[in-house]
Amino acid sequence: MTLIPGNKGRASLRLAVLGGLFAGVVNGLLGTGAGTVFFFVAQRIYRDDPGIGAKDCFACAMAAVFPVSLLSLFTYPSVNAGSDLLPALLIPAALGGLLGAFLSDRIGQKTLKKIFAAVVVFGGAYMIAGS
């Protein structure tokens, strides 16, 4: 597998560079979102490559977002890190992530995606409308 299949190397490299920069800005600003940008970039780059599927693009996005999230953590010096919520959430989140990765090969994700989309649309609208 090459980074850029065919003769679209330069355009794909440009997309990767711009996408990487943009993902960093989004993650640095909002504390999330880099994975979505990385996934979009990988999809665009490999859209004509039948050997690369959505799950490969997702794996790429998730692997890339891990170091970016760790870096982003250090840009929050003013936030009180001693959260009482953190210990309660950390282990269940990690176990859920492992289960999700395991289930990703075994369940249809169409319905889950629609539920996820509905939740974030509702939540986003609430955040914009709220004070």
Binding site: L3, L13, L18, G31, C60, S78, L99, S104, A118
Partner: protein, 129 residues
């Protein structure tokens, strides 16, 4: 701590691990249901997302085709981008960050609902695992 925190973290972690989405859900849960401040919720979201990644990434990398070169380019360019984003965050009020976050969630949800991805997870070409 609320007893509901544990199943919520587990479910959101599982959604994130499947690839459906989820990073932003931690922030939505913490701000809308737990009353956390926006920036504090974002910080917690980053910690939790890192925890999910630690458990899910090895599984995915062992089974998928990932270009190390693409990975390197994305991460390398995201580093200066992260500092730029943090600088923007520091220069604007937290309320504005919350509204931008809400807008980003709306766009993400709309894209998932109405976007036409070539790489839908259910297509035959992606049945390979």
């Amino acid at each position: 701590m609320d007893l509901f925190d544990i199943p919520a973290a587990f479910l959101i972690g599982a959604l994130t691990g499947t690839g459906v989405g989820g990073g932003g859900l931690f922030v939505l849960y913490l701000t809308l249901l737990r009353g956390a401040e926006q920036l504090r919720a974002q910080w917690l979201n980053l910690v939790l997302f890192a925890a999910v990644s630690v458990s899910a990434v090895p599984y995915h990398l062992a089974r998928r085709k990932v270009s190390p070169k693409l990975l390197f380019i994305l991460v390398a360019l995201a580093v200066p981008g992260t500092f730029a984003g943090a600088a923007i965050r520091g220069a604007i009020p937290a309320g504005a960050v919350r509204k931008i976050f809400g807008g980003a969630m709306l766009l993400t949800g709309a894209h998932v609902l109405f976007g036409r991805d070539k790489a839908a997870f259910e297509t035959a070409e992606n049945k390979k695992t």
